[in-house]
């Protein structure tokens, strides 16, 4: 027994040493779009305008090494493992990126560089959704002639069945709950408990014919097209569904299908003979390689080494290089030319808690906003490689982003002591005050933020006491529990947030809507602005895309004007692309390389 305990202890040490991070977590501290783990001390200046198709950032906003050459094998590795390969049971950006190789959801992010990549285009559907009944009913038509890997034609019923099964969180606990939360379920729980002989008893989805599918929602939701992009809409043939075992052989509807699938170890994808590119005119998939090999549970440091040596093509999680490899790449001009520093839909920020006196006074909050050294915040995340100094909450890759600088984060990045002192006078605390700052103890970058803030705020007399809490319970028991935060005087709470997809709703809803605040387990740590709530509602009823996107920018401005969010940085990941890869670019929809377009010159 001692020996076994020792083994476990050693294993735990290894985990710490390798810096593996737990993927599974009920707490939102691990958000969908990864990227937090990718930064180290360095000072790379990203090329702002890169001409040509080679060099640093050649895969950002443009295609690196464009090619139409087919063939070859692309090898990928994952330091961990998929939630599940089942489209109903996945919640990581890289999983949603790669699932498009073997599945076609109703809509998809366009495979294109730059802002185009954050746009939805029809995939299995013929067009974007048609909203009726004040955006409570959404209708899509299925493209004719799209087939499963066995040659069966895909119908709207296969999509309905797929969404139905994704509702069963007992069997598929990992996927998002957007359909559970928004469809008018009328008590429906799962096709596995469905008395309908065809297992299509859900009334919230109608399939009047084989090519039409109609979704009925509980309330208006103008962003529903993003739900139609979710992997849960990838069709599943009911006859082949084996529930939690379906991940062993997902029936492909995309350009590739599973050749082998050794769960937890490796899977390979080969061309699906029943995929017809002519049925796929909008997504931009190029399907260049003949084969994809994906290794699982590979040592993270070894992944970086293999990437740099050319033995491996892609780190599939899109987390970016680890600290050691980052240093190596940024110091070597040749290696750096093969890397991209991509903005991802994530902001590292802190909440200035309006529940804790004297921060209940907006002027006191503004004093903090002005006084903080934003360069210090950025330094805590590894300098420019970690991200850009944020001037607002909404990351720039999200459509609707509006540039602003309410507290001179860009104009005076080291902080404006004079203005901070003015605000302190206005809030009746001319000599400053004392409060606490919380962060997640397992995250050295957040610790560095707390220390940087402690220093810069001391200049204006604001004394911070640093309070670390374990990240597993950060939201359930500490910062995310309003009673606790208030009782313990957590005036500033450090954290960060990534969007499920690059969209205002996907990013903002869970962190600024005051009505989401519960007794515990919150990710909105205290932003309570009635005008913001009203704008969120208005956005969800606005079907005009441009008008809706404008609202996201307005919400951002309102949140910043309230001074309850101290934006830190807009996160970036340093991605490496070995020179043998072709047709590479960062897809803004996922904040990582697009896996449906890349090719290789290696045979």
């Amino acid at each position: 027994m001692t020996a076994v305990v020792a083994v476990s202890a050693v294993a735990a040490l290894v985990l710490t040493a390798c810096g593996s991070s737990s993927k599974k977590s009920a707490s939102p501290s691990s958000s969908v779009t990864p990227g937090g783990s990718a930064s180290s001390a360095s000072s790379a200046t990203p090329a702002s305008s890169g001409g040509g198709t080679t060099g640093f950032n050649a895969g950002v906003d443009k295609v690196f090494n464009p090619s139409t050459q087919k063939g070859g094998t692309v090898t990928m590795a994952n330091a961990g493992d998929w939630d599940s390969l089942d489209p109903a049971d996945m919640y990581y950006a890289y999983e949603w990126d790669l699932v498009r190789l073997y599945g076609r959801s109703l809509l998809a992010f366009k495979s294109a560089p730059g802002a185009e990549g954050a746009k939805l285009v029809p995939d299995l559907a013929t067009a974007l959704g048609v909203a009726t009944d004040n955006a409570k009913t959404w209708t899509y038509h299925i493209r004719p002639g799209v087939k499963f890997e066995d040659g069966t034609v895909i119908t709207s019923k296969d999509v309905k069945y797929a969404v139905e099964r994704s509702l069963d969180k007992d069997v598929f606990p990992d996927g998002p709950t957007y359909f559970n939360d928004n469809l008018d379920l009328q008590g429906y729980t799962s096709p596995y408990k469905d008395t309908d002989p065809a297992k299509l008893g859900l009334k919230a989805i109608e399939t009047p014919d084989d090519s039409t599918i109609v979704f009925h929602l509980k309330t208006s939701f103008s962003d529903f097209d993003y739900f139609a992009m979710l992997p849960a809409t990838v069709p599943v043939p009911a006859a082949k569904d084996t529930g939690s075992k379906y991940k062993e052989h997902v029936v492909s509807s995309g350009p590739y299908m599973f050749a082998t699938n050794d769960l937890g170890k490796e899977f390979t994808l080969v061309r699906n003979p029943n995929y017809d590119a002519s049925t796929d005119p909008d997504t931009g998939r190029t399907s260049l390689p003949d084969k994809y090999v994906v290794d699982l549970n590979v040592n993270a440091a070894d992944i970086d080494n293999r990437l740099l040596s050319g033995d491996l093509d892609v780190d599939v999680t899109g987390n970016g290089l680890g600290a050691a490899a980052q240093g190596k790449v940024l110091a070597d001009a040749k290696l750096k030319a093969n890397s991209d520093s991509a903005l991802i839909p994530r902001t590292w920020f802190s909440v200035i808690n309006p529940d804790v006196a004297p921060l209940d006074n907006i002027a006191c909050r503004k004093a903090v906003e002005y006084a903080v050294d934003k360069v210090g915040y950025q330094r805590a995340y590894g300098g420019a490689t970690g991200g850009d100094i944020a001037t607002g909450l909404l990351p720039p890759v999200i459509p609707g982003f509006q540039k602003m600088d309410q507290y001179e984060a860009a104009a005076m990045p080291n902080g404006d002591v004079a203005k901070a002192k003015d605000q302190l006078k206005a809030c009746g605390q001319p000599n400053g005050f004392s409060t606490n700052i919380s962060y997640r103890v397992e995250r050295p970058k957040e610790k560095a933020v707390a220390e940087e803030m402690q220093q810069s705020l001391a200049q204006v007399g604001i004394k911070l006491t640093i309070k670390p809490y374990p990240q597993g319970d950060y939201f359930k028991l500490y910062a995310g529990k309003p009673d606790f935060a208030k009782a313990n005087g957590l005036g500033i709470m450090v954290y960060g947030w990534g969007a499920d997809w690059p969209d205002g709703y996907g990013f903002l809803d869970q962190i600024v809507d005051s009505r989401t605040i519960r007794a515990a387990g919150n990710t909105n740590l205290g932003i309570k602005i009635p005008a913001v709530d009203a704008m969120l509602d208005k956005a969800l009823q606005t079907t005009d895309i441009a008008a809706r996107e404008k609202i996201w920018g307005q919400i951002d401005a309102a949140v910043m004007a309230n001074a309850s969010v101290l934006p830190g940085i807009w996160a970036k990941g340093l991605l490496y692309r070995p020179p043998n890869l072709t047709n590479m670019f960062v897809n803004d929809g996922f904040g990582m390389y697009d896996y449906t377009t890349l090719g290789t010159t290696k045979k």
Partner: protein
């Protein structure tokens, strides 16, 4: 002898039962005693947007709401007669020894372990052969050439071997031999012995050497000190006086007498390794038992960890049994008693 083996086996089974009870308590009882509810435990196994109702459903689904003795009874029953699990559309049978059912992957643990045993076995067997032969040979030579340059160099290298952790030497070796020189296979390579024996050996060469480097050191030092002591015994002098060739004196009389402690350590080390060469498998991304344990720990997937714990304990117990039996072969004093 047979009665002895039977008695030892019986004790081994009892010991295993105790180990399962202790391990099970650590994972499932201690958190409850510390105040965690079934829902708290279940909240680790749901997606990030799960509400309280869904978490509770998961707790029920995973059987965490049952009293702890019911959960343990179910586990033990699974080990002996197998159990069933719900995949959604159907109920699947998990035949004995069903060592639980992963909370994360929703797959039975035993088949996963079985598919990973060959990797760990290959790694442990190759590594053990290398370190045993290498370590003992170096130890004997060092003892015979005590104080020479060879002795000092060998013991110096041995000290380095014991001191350097495998996640360092492993990554360094990969970087030099696989990525710079291209002599050995890259990390994550593994080919089954029966599908291609040459490829199997090629893929595992670097892990074997790294592992052996770590262990051989201890064996070399142990053998050396054992040999030094033995070679000063009176009977060695007698053997020499009888005119036996030096080779016979060293191997038959000297080495054999120093083997007992080596064998003891070897049994323990091998048993431990078979239970999962955690560091080596993680460093080289080998899909063995050790990697499985790490995956289980990272994801809080307790049934996986429990499965590896029990398998590891079983290996250690069996290895010890084998060592005890081998004593009789090596040391005539044990046989006569």
């Amino acid at each position: 002898m047979l009665a002895y083996i039977a008695r030892r086996l019986f004790v081994a089974v009892l010991l295993l039962l105790v180990i399962t009870a202790v391990a099970f308590s650590i994972f499932f009882l201690v958190p409850r005693l510390a105040g965690a509810s079934a829902d708290d435990l279940a909240s680790r196994y749901v997606g990030k947007s799960a509400g309280a109702a869904q978490i509770h459903e998961t707790a029920v689904h995973l059987g965490l709401t049952d009293p702890i003795y019911v959960q343990y009874g179910r586990f033990i029953k699974g080990v002996f007669v197998g159990s069933t699990y719900d995949t959604g559309p159907s109920v699947e049978r998990c035949p004995a020894p069903c060592l639980g059912y992963s909370f994360i992957n929703q797959t039975p643990v035993w088949p996963d372990l079985v598919s990973r045993i060959p990797v760990t076995l290959s790694l442990a067997a190759g590594g053990a052969l290398l370190w045993l032969v290498g370590g003992v040979a170096v130890g004997v030579l060092s003892a015979l050439k005590r104080g020479t340059v060879f002795d000092r160099t060998a013991m110096g290298i041995a000290l380095a071997g014991v001191s350097l952790p495998i996640f360092f030497t492993g990554l360094l070796a990969l970087s030099v031999f696989s990525y710079s020189l291209g002599w050995t296979a890259p990390g994550g390579s593994y080919t089954g012995l029966f599908s291609n024996p040459i490829r199997w050996a090629y893929d595992l060469l670097l892990p074997w050497v790294t592992l052996a480097f770590l262990y051989a050191a201890a064996y070399a030092r142990l053998t050396r000190s054992g040999m030094l002591e033995t070679m000063n015994e009176d009977y060695i002098r007698t053997a020499r006086a009888k005119g036996l060739p030096e080779r016979t004196v060293v191997i038959k009389h000297g080495l054999r007498a120093s083997m007992t402690p080596i064998l003891t350590i070897f049994g323990l080390d091998l048993g431990l390794l078979l239970g999962g060469a955690v560091l080596t498998e993680t460093t080289y991304s080998l899909p063995g038992i050790g990697q499985y344990a790490v995956i289980g720990l990272t994801n809080n997937d307790l049934p996986k960890v429990l499965g590896v714990t029990i398998l590891g304990a079983a290996f250690i117990i069996v290895a010890n049994l084998v060592v005890d039996l081998l004593y009789a072969v090596v040391d005539p004093r044990v046989r006569t008693r």
